[in-house]
């Protein structure tokens, strides 16, 4: 039924377009068709993914108004089509202000592949951090207003309805590992954040671009996109020992203030980003805690540098997460360090591209190494071969050490 509605809506757009003054000249229709196939390095070489994608961007603009709709279809083997709208919004332009209303992806900050002040659009982590970033970031229905003063801007965002991180299914190879002595039961009764005005999220950002530095200062009052995993141990009355564990996911309010900068130093680009979070819930092994979680403030920041060496474009980032007023029973380390490395080089007049991107978790010695080679056979048509290697046996990346894979993507853009 949903599919049929979508298709009918699509046909109506095309049929009715001329009546609204939209014609082929002014209505921009772009997008891509892509096949993505991935195979694990496991003994049976299981397929990690086989997916066909149709992604459409439909936009139209007049002097003072514009709209954009970005529908997509994912087709998996032996499954129903997944049809969605990544974005669907209307723009209203004034001399010194722009307003955008509707479902939209909002991206803040200067970090690459790391989310610090980039907290408005929740993440689709069904395939961990492997998809393209515009596929990881989900659109949120929001009211966004930007007021411009020269090369500076003040941006206000109101998100009336909360959307949480999209996590992998129980059967997914990307399901995060839970190290508990018992197979837990889940109680989802507290997970939903009701759709009401008092539960909305607000964000404010000031940004400026100057010759010396690009600067962003931001603040937000939001919900933590990731639920805190409240854990209740159920005591067996016969043995007086824990007999089972119930995990109760619950979202909590989170406040943050932060900022980012970017500047050049000779031929180097120096970037930084940081945020102070108020009221994050962390898992704790403190037996006095009723539900195994404790509320703390924490600092998350990054320093990065982009440069060119031997015609290879490189980027290095150091990321640190620091829990303040730390208690020893907290499961996370007080300080968690990570680094990322990126190297890219192109050949054959920008038709062949090599890229290596690596996340390294310094606390657990784990890593995700992503190498890929892209060849543009023709304008708008590319073939990509890549590999994802997970090293270590614990930590954010080590937990997936059985998911090493090789993959191919064929993409036709129009």
């Amino acid at each position: 039924m949903r599919n049929r509605t979508f298709i009918i809506a699509g046909i109506l757009v095309f049929l009715l377009a001329p009546f609204f003054g939209l014609n082929a000249d002014s209505l921009n229709l772009t997008g891509y068709v892509r096949n993505y196939s991935g195979m694990l390095f496991t003994e049976g070489n299981d397929f990690a993914i086989i997916r066909n994608t149709f992604n459409l961007n439909l936009d139209h603009s007049k002097e003072k108004v514009a709209f954009k709709v970005n529908p997509y279809i994912y087709q998996y083997q032996n499954q129903d089509l997944e049809i969605g709208l990544r974005q669907a919004y209307i723009d209203i332009f004034f001399n010194f202000m722009d307003i955008r209303i509707g479902k939209q992806q909002i991206i803040w900050g200067k970090a690459d592949g790391v989310f610090i002040t980039d907290v408005i659009s929740p993440k689709d982590l069904r395939e961990f951090l492997l998809p393209e970033f515009d596929e990881i970031r989900m659109g949120v229905t929001a009211f966004k207003a930007d007021y411009y003063i020269g090369d500076s801007a003040i941006e206000f965002v109101w998100v009336p309805v909360f959307t949480s991180t999209r996590l992998p299914d129980e059967s997914s190879i990307w399901k995060p590992r839970f190290d508990l002595p018992f197979q837990p039961e889940f109680d989802y009764s507290r997970q939903k954040v009701s759709e009401s005005f008092k539960n909305s999220e607000v964000f404010l950002k000031y940004s400026t671009v100057t010759s010396a530095v690009d600067l962003e200062l931001m603040g937000g009052y939001m919900w933590d996109d990731d639920p805190a995993m409240h854990t209740v141990k159920n005591i067996d009355p016969a043995t007086m020992q824990p007999g089972s564990i119930t995990v109760i996911p619950e979202h909590h309010r989170l406040g943050l203030v932060g900022g980012s900068f970017s500047t050049t130093l000779g031929s180097y680009v120096i970037r930084g980003e940081g945020a102070y979070y108020f009221g994050k819930y962390f898992l704790s092994e403190d037996s006095l805690l009723e539900e195994g979680v404790v509320e703390k403030n924490y600092l998350h920041y990054l320093l990065g540098v982009d440069f060119t060496l031997l015609d290879i474009k490189m980027s290095v980032q150091f990321i640190q997460q620091l829990i303040l007023d730390y208690d020893d029973p907290i499961v996370n380390d007080r300080v968690e360090n990570m680094m990322t490395f990126l190297a890219t080089k192109d050949f054959l007049r920008e038709t062949l591209f090599l890229e290596l991107f690596t996340y390294v978790g310094l606390n657990n010695g784990d890593a995700l190494i992503r190498g890929k080679v892209t060849y543009k056979l023709a304008d708008g048509f590319e073939v990509l071969l890549g590999t994802n290697i997970f090293t270590g046996d614990k930590g954010m990346f080590g937990q997936y050490n059985k998911n090493d894979m090789v993959y191919a993507k064929i993409k036709y853009s129009f």
């Binding site: 722009d98 200067k110 671009v209 708008g380 590319e382």
Partner: protein
Amino acid sequence: MKIKKLHILVLNLILLPAVTISGAELTGLQIVEKVYNRDTGQDSKGILTMTLTNSQGNKRVRKIKQFIKDFGKVEKSIMFFMSPADIRNTSFANWSYTEEGKDDDQWIYLPALKRVKRISSDSKSDYFMGSDFTYDDLGDRQPGEDNHKLLREEKFKGEDCYVVESIPKDEEYMYSRTVTWIIKDKWIGLKREFYDEDGELLKILKIRKYEKISGFWTILISEMTNVQKKHSTRMELSDVKINTGIPDRQFTERMMKRGL
């Protein structure tokens, strides 16, 4: 797509109105400075179509919409990539300063990332979008970076030209020398030969069409051929408008994100 040092494709292809100066009084450096320091108008916009042809005759086409404005001490340009489809709505901004020694500031907006990113402008010898033009070739190279010598005066394509040889002061530079045919009364480089580090002819730039638009001589079609690799790039400029009063806000991050 690689973008490091993108130059001002319209302004540097726009030339001074005719000026009568006696060639006998000019040195090679002065002639090149006349071309470099030409009045380019307050602002301009246009659409640039680049056609890349390889040795097998296969063609690739890139289309760019661009805006340029002189703000006094800084010249700002902004480009929107119209095609090919996979880079559509990518935009690029460049701030170029009159202050000697001050590097350009550059930003790129990638629609997939939805973020404007500051980038470094360190490599002038990189080729622009896989074409046969380096960023220096597009006009940014300052006259003081080479030693110039007036070789002779001769007629070329029916025009009276100065023939100037330019040898880089930096011995590591990608060209060992260039030779340029400059039209005497228009200050147009009508043809230029580029020689590689071994002194062999590497590339030839030819101007195919130029016209006067709003009082400014404008090169509309030029072609660069790499004779060693048998690869060529044709640049065609269309819909050129000069001094139309482009508002300052056209050159901001706001417009980079808004796109075409």
